[in-house]
Amino acid sequence: MIWKIVLFLLIAFVSIAGITFPIVAKPEHWYEFPLIMGLGENAKIIFFHVPTAWLTVIAFLMSTVYSIKYLRNKDLVDDIKAHSAAQLGMVFCILATITGAVWAKFAWGSYWSWDPRQTSIFALLLIYGALFALRSAVEVEEKRAALSAVYSIIAFVTVPFFIFIMPRIMRGLHPGSADDTNAGTVVNFKMNGNMQLIFFLSLIGFTILYYWMWYVGYKSMLYKEKLNKQYH
C-alpha cells in the first residue's frame, strides 16, 4: 500500500518538476534547468521519452527470461508472465516511438528520418508484432508457449545489435552516435545535477509503474486461464 502512494507522489513530482521547471542559460537555483544547445524548451520531454524506451527494453528482457524459464520447466505460468511482459513492452514501444517522433519533429525538423535509433525501435515494434501474430496463429497452449518462447529468444539475440551496436557505429542524430562530438552517453550529456536527479527519479518511478502494471496484467491473465479450465 505504502509504495503505491510513494509511486503516485514520485511520478506526480516528476511531471510537475519536469514540465514546469524553467530552462535558463545559467542555472542558479535548484529548480532551474540548464539550457542545452539546439534543444531549448523541448529538452523536457527527455523525462518521459527515455523511460518509455528503457521500459521497452526491460519488458523485452523480462519476456525473454521467462521464455527461457518456460523452456526449462514447461510451466505455463511462466508463459503467461512472458506474454504479459511482451504486451506491456508493445505499449511502451508505441509510446516511445510516438514521443520520439514528436520530439524529432521539433528538434530535428521531421517526424521520421531513419536515425539508427529510430530504425532500432521500429525493428523492436516489428518483433513484438510478429510475436503476437505467432501467438494468435497457434491454438494448442503448450505448442503456442514453446513456439513463442523460441521466437522471443531468437529475436532477443538479434536485438543487442539494434539497441547497442548499430546506434554507436552508424552516423545518426541521437547523442552517442558515431559522429557525436560531445562524446557522451545519453544520460550524462550536458545535464546538471538537478536535471539528472529528476531524470533518474523518473526512470525509477516508471520502472515501478511497469512492474505494477505487469503484475496486474499477469494475475488477470492467470485467473482468466484458471476460470476457463474450471468451467470447460
Binding site: L71, T119, A123, L126, I127, G129, A130, A133, L134, A137, V138, E139, E142, K143, A146, L147, A149, V150, Y151, I153, I154, A155, V157, T158, F161, F162, I165, M166, I169
Partner: protein, 219 residues
C-alpha cells in the same frame, strides 16, 4: 540416418517435383521485371540499385525457403523423421539443403541483376563477395529456423515473411551498407566492422538454432 542422407532425400524429392526451383525462378523473374517496369527510363542512383538487389533477394528467399519443414508436415512424414533421426541431424540436413538453394538462387539473381541494371557496378568485387557469402549463410540459417517454427503454426504462408523480417533486418541493413561501400571504394579498411557484424550474426544464429531446434521439433 545422417544429415547428408536427409539432404540427398530432400534433393531427390525436389528434383522430382521441382516445386521450389520453379517457383523461385518465376519469383525472381517477376520481382526483377516489376522493378524494371517501375523504373522505366529513369536513371536510378547506384545506392538505390544496390538496395533493390537485396530487396529482390529477400522476397525470393521468402517465397522459396519456407518449404523446408512445411513439406514434411504436409506429407505427414514428421513423425517418421522424429523416429529415425536426432533433431540436430534433421536441422543440419535441412540447413544444408537451404544453403545450396540460397546460394544457387542468389548467384542467379546477382548475374541477372548485373546484366539488367547498368547502375549496378561493383568496384570492390572481393569485398562484395565476402559480404555476399556471409550474408547468404545468415539468410539460410535464419530462414531454416523460422521455417521450422512456421511448420508448427497453423497459418503457414502469411506468417513466414512477418516472422523472418525482424530477424533478418540487421543482416539486411549491414548487407545494404556493405554493398554501397563495395560500389563506392576499392579499399577494405572501412568495412571491417560490418564484415565482423555479419560473421557474428552467422555464428550467433547457428548456435541459437542448434540450441532451440529441439524445443520446436519435439512437441
Amino acid at each position: 540416418m545422417s544429415s547428408y542422407a536427409l539432404f540427398k532425400k530432400d534433393l531427390a524429392s525436389e528434383l522430382r517435383t521441382r516445386y521450389a526451383i520453379n517457383s523461385l525462378v518465376m519469383f525472381i523473374v517477376v520481382t526483377i521485371s516489376v522493378i524494371l517496369f517501375s523504373i522505366g527510363n529513369e536513371k536510378i542512383s547506384d545506392f538505390l540499385s544496390g538496395g533493390l538487389f537485396w530487396v529482390v533477394i529477400f522476397f525470393s528467399a521468402m517465397s522459396g525457403l519456407s518449404r523446408a519443414f512445411v513439406s514434411e508436415e504436409e506429407r505427414g512424414t514428421t513423425l517418421t523423421l522424429q523416429l529415425i533421426a536426432s533433431p540436430t541431424t534433421i536441422f543440419s540436413g535441412k540447413l544444408l539443403f537451404n544453403l545450396i538453394l540460397v546460394f544457387a538462387m542468389n548467384i542467379v539473381i546477382a548475374l541477372l541483376y548485373s546484366a539488367l541494371f547498368e547502375a549496378f557496378v561493383i568496384k570492390n568485387l572481393s569485398l562484395f563477395l565476402y559480404a555476399f557469402i556471409l550474408g547468404n549463410i545468415g539468410i539460410a540459417i535464419a530462414s531454416t529456423l523460422i521455417a521450422s517454427i512456421i511448420a508448427k503454426a497453423s497459418s503457414k504462408g502469411t506468417l513466414y515473411p512477418v516472422l523472418s523480417f525482424p530477424i533478418l533486418l540487421p543482416l539486411m541493413l549491414t548487407l545494404i551498407d556493405l554493398t554501397k561501400q563495395a560500389m563506392d571504394t576499392t579499399t577494405f579498411s572501412s568495412s571491417y566492422v560490418e564484415l565482423a557484424i555479419l560473421g557474428c550474426y552467422d555464428v550467433v544464429m547457428i548456435a541459437v538454432s542448434f540450441m532451440l531446434f529441439d524445443f520446436i521439433w519435439k512437441d
